[in-house]
Symmetry: C2
Subunit: 256 residues, 2 copies
DNA sequence: CCCTGTGAAGGTTTTCACAGCC
DNA sequence: GGCTGTGAAAACCTTCACAGGG
């Protein structure tokens, strides 16, 4: 699934596949770690292992960005960090508002991974008046009444919804009306947004349900295998997993 | 990307595509809402809209489960709820442990979506001795030392990791050694697990980075469109979004 | 000789469009 | 006539395998 904009016909020369975009942050994280250890270059094989992906995929992904490697050598770590950051738009500052400061909202506010990647928490917003002024992660919570003003004053284009499901659509509508065009939704609801607005969702219980499906499947297989109905399962030898990546599935995403 | 088991050759009669599995929880949520409103039947069109997916996809998805609809009428809500629950393995009880009771762990412990879907929080575990005994969401936190005992006594097969990145692999190893075979990882690290163990990950900052990518793209397009270089963007009329679904991308998944 | 970059093949997922049943 | 279920086509993504540059 794309972004709703992927459908546009013309001018798709810079078209980076959605699946590739989804992996760029993984590569970036692995590269940042290498950079911190002052590793100068890395091969597709090594980087792929660090990102939990296979190397052919990684090379194909990078080929969409351009030819940033050197044959016989590998990729220059610093250079790649820069190129991927630029491609993802992380070289600019993205002010973000978080709406709904419960446990989850607080966890998000405290999450270090944002600040280090060009995201700045511009404001924390909650509907509970008794929260107003209370600092969370060093930032004072503001009341929902201020929402429009904050977004306009700070030029916020990305909003995070961490409210209960019942409030999510209403908050979403206000965010969009005030100018937000990208929304990360943690509430377990389908949001309705106008064209041009991207929504991505993260649903904790969905991930668990998918695990349960496979878990159940495993149990069934064992039983079947024990009964000799199915070829015996491969021995479970310990070995580093490969290809641990997002992917083609549930991640929970989607366009508007 | 499949589950690592998808590759197995033989006996794939019950093979439900991974992309379909990833959407079943969405359908289930929409159906549960209809059930609560005592709606008896629903058409593929209506249910698809409620789940944020298109109707052809939904019908194809259901066709993998069997023929549970009635032509000219639609689907029986209660019956479908049951069939999907069963397929996902939610008709049985899944004890779950959450390791790492910071803001995020606490949010997860408090999250209502678990209990209502067959997941039972069997224990909360944290490495900080001063947390031990403190109740979170009504459940007393236990120390990491108890981890193996808890997992074995309760027959836990699903573990949730909400620790800092540095501790994640170690916790993962202990969970796996104690018998856990499915892991939901919130720490921003690639986990290495033996074959037969499924890992799914949720990375908050990855989702934001993907939004930033599209956000940047929009800005660039507007500029280009203003300059007449690109066909003018479609007017942004308000209209309910369709096809808001997980999907083929970053969700963050993968097999072992 | 090593490792990137990439056509081509193979697989999976989505979408179309309509036959078939109620 | 309405709506499901599904082959067939199209789009998308991954993997293979190797040409070609360092």
């Amino acid at each position: 699934m794309a972004t709703g904009r992927t459908h546009r016909p013309a001018t798709r020369s810079r078209g980076i596949p959605e699946a590739t975009v989804a992996r760029l942050p993984l590569y970036l994280r692995a590269l940042t770690a290498l950079s911190e250890r002052s590793v100068p270059t890395v091969s597709s094989e090594e980087l792929a292992a660090a990102a939990g992906v296979n190397s052919a995929k990684l090379r194909k992904d990078f080929s969409y960005l351009g030819s940033y490697g050197t044959r016989g050598v590998g990729y220059d770590v610093e250079y790649l960090v820069y190129q991927i950051s630029r491609e993802l738009g992380l070289t600019q500052d993205w002010p973000v508002v978080i709406v709904g400061i419960g446990n989850l909202g607080a966890a998000l506010a405290n999450y270090g991974g944002f600040a280090s990647r060009g995201f700045r928490v511009a404001a924390l917003i909650d509907a509970d008046p008794s929260m107003a002024g209370k600092p969370v992660a060093g930032i004072p919570v503001q009341h929902t009444d201020e929402l429009e003003k904050i977004i306009q004053d700070d030029g916020v284009s990305i909003g995070v919804i961490a409210t209960p499901a019942g409030a999510a659509q209403q908050v979403c509508d206000r965010l969009v009306a005030a100018g937000v065009t990208s929304i990360l939704n943690f509430a377990p609801t389908v949001l309705s947004v106008p064209e041009g607005v991207d929504v991505r969702k993260v649903d904790l219980s969905i991930e668990l349900q998918i695990l349960a499906f496979h878990e159940q499947r495993k149990a069934g297989e064992e039983a079947a295998a024990d009964a000799g109905v199915v070829p015996p399962a491969v021995a479970r030898k310990q070995r580093p997993s490969t290809d641990q990546g997002p992917d083609g599935d549930v991640p929970a995403v989607m366009p508007a």
